[in-house]
Symmetry: C2
Subunit: 399 residues, 2 copies
Amino acid sequence: MAGPQRTNGRRILLTAIRKSSPIARIDLATLTGISRATVTTVTAELLGAGLIGEVAGEGDKSGRGRPRVDLKIEGSAHLVAGVKVSNRSLSLVLIDFEGKQIAEFDFPISDQVFTPNALALALYDGLAAMMQTVGKTVKHLSGVGIGMPGIVDVQRGFVHWSPSLSERNVHLRAEIEQILSIPVFLDNDANLVAMAEKQFGVGRDAKDFIVVTIESGVGMGIVINNEIYRGTRGCGAEFGHTKVQLDGALCRCGQRGCLEAYVADYALLREAQLLGESASDATPEQKIESLLQKVKNGDPVAANIVNRAGRMFAMGLANIVNIFDPQLIILAGERMQFDHLYAQDVLESIKNSIVQVDQSPPEVVIHRWDDLMWAKGAAGYALEGVEEAAVVQVTAQNA
Amino acid sequence: MAGPQRTNGRRILLTAIRKSSPIARIDLATLTGISRATVTTVTAELLGAGLIGEVAGEGDKSGRGRPRVDLKIEGSAHLVAGVKVSNRSLSLVLIDFEGKQIAEFDFPISDQVFTPNALALALYDGLAAMMQTVGKTVKHLSGVGIGMPGIVDVQRGFVHWSPSLSERNVHLRAEIEQILSIPVFLDNDANLVAMAEKQFGVGRDAKDFIVVTIESGVGMGIVINNEIYRGTRGCGAEFGHTKVQLDGALCRCGQRGCLEAYVADYALLREAQLLGESASDATPEQKIESLLQKVKNGDPVAANIVNRAGRMFAMGLANIVNIFDPQLIILAGERMQFDHLYAQDVLESIKNSIVQVDQSPPEVVIHRWDDLMWAKGAAGYALEGVEEAAVVQVTAQNA
């Protein structure tokens, strides 16, 4: 094999071992179509680099012959962290090269909006605190994945805009790498949820699917052909800012008629002012809870507010189905607060707004999870990058 | 190389020859990374099968040595047809294996809606008439590509619904193959326009782009990573039925608020009744012309009707940008009738409805063409299928 093919062979074999571990060399050859001789050479290189290890396999069925030796990913080869930046805390997780979770940590933050430098410092502190729980430091990490709300250009590690940042158009990856001194893998947080769903969630068996996330805004991650689809300028999947009403309600982005301007917290609370919700000193969360309680108590105005949000949400989702026709839609959210958007009648009204054919509509799955799952997605993303760097290094060492 | 790799090698080399014809064997090896020995073996097989030919190349620069021999696709290897089914005629085109156009033909049809069998017979008659102009018959075709309006499941050759068919849920490919006795490649017509734009149109240099077509309905073709994206059930890209208004205008699909229900002919004419347009015996085309003339003459009601259509169209397109973030949007249409949707203020209002970042919005290109371009897309699609079948056959012969 020529140079680039050889790198690719290493990549394919490492991926196959990761997927089917533990696995014998001969089964790797069958699975990948790579010759037994090449499998022997490449796996020797990977063993030499400490990326994989050998374990005793089950003997062959006859019970005779040499005991079988299987290959597996060597967990201790690398430590990788994932972080989700939310407006209350940094959720952190530590995994090994096998993807096994080693530690988790919740690092409270007092600010909701950071300068890039302040965010980088907070990330350092959070990572250092987590690493301390396992007797290590930030230096022991081979990479960290970071999920940010907002519009992220992954290629450039550039943030066009984020509700967590005080500045627009920031080369955030470079800023953070300068403080952490380890490779940083930065992406939009909804994309990382999609990646988590793909790697170890509800999307494991789906080739094309969509994840919709609801926090204070509405996010979306698109998986096409098993890969995250990011758009040309890194600002695709802006579901929350698709327009559901010409000249409609004002959105915090400054435009009118965005889906978020109908379904986000602030949109509901803006209308709930009529019910006197604004008078109290309660937090937005408490006000939303109070609004939803009024719906349960039969208040017709409260119901009017909440129902429209649900119907707009259904309309937006139906549009996604009409455009993408995905296998699966995953509605992911951490807070019960959005139950009204995930209600049965909302899901029913999606079905009535999509193009009707003789096949079932895409499956809609509600997947509630906590910030840790977002962080796991970030760690999984970083793991991919760390693995790729490791493959390139093995190639260089065996050139 | 093992079996599947060998097939792939043939595919890669044939594609490279198609793309860079005429090309020398040594340049093929450089271009594809396939070894010179394999290039020699495989091109010998392709020459033997008559799929490629040799032409005298330019001698090497020193003027010494053997004269260079280049390889090219052998046009005469196969004849392939493409057909666009519209409501006035079948547009047909004949190309050779090199993709060179051999003939074109317009076959008038009296019916606008066919049974599957009647459509198959009309296709046979149209193809036979075109083949006669070059002294051949339908039997001389290696395949035919057919573009249909409506919802097509490409994998199954199945039409969920088409305005040209009297029945829903038809195994149309099988019906047509039974009458034509040649391989049929069936797809949604907007997808084939996207393919034509990719192969020889405005989309040649774009990896991710979207084509919007306007006839009596609104169609869309999505190209992601250089390939047509079709969705899971074959019913993605239903741009015309994305909802732009909750509980909005009634669409001919039976649902409310579809984009088509605001921008299609029938939607404009429904509102134009107020202007007395329905009273005349004019055709829909004439009525639309009359409406647009009234706009030009300063009629405020006519302007009110047409302006909303443009603004709804812009909103729908902005949603596509917010979701896909494509490099390029191609607005393709054959009739000047849709100038009001392609007007400068419509394009401006797209820019104001997309997520604002520090980069230019996707380029929007208006590409007017005739039915023949749709047919060329269909022929190009069939050519891909014919080439694939030829590669498989060469593999079988050289196994």
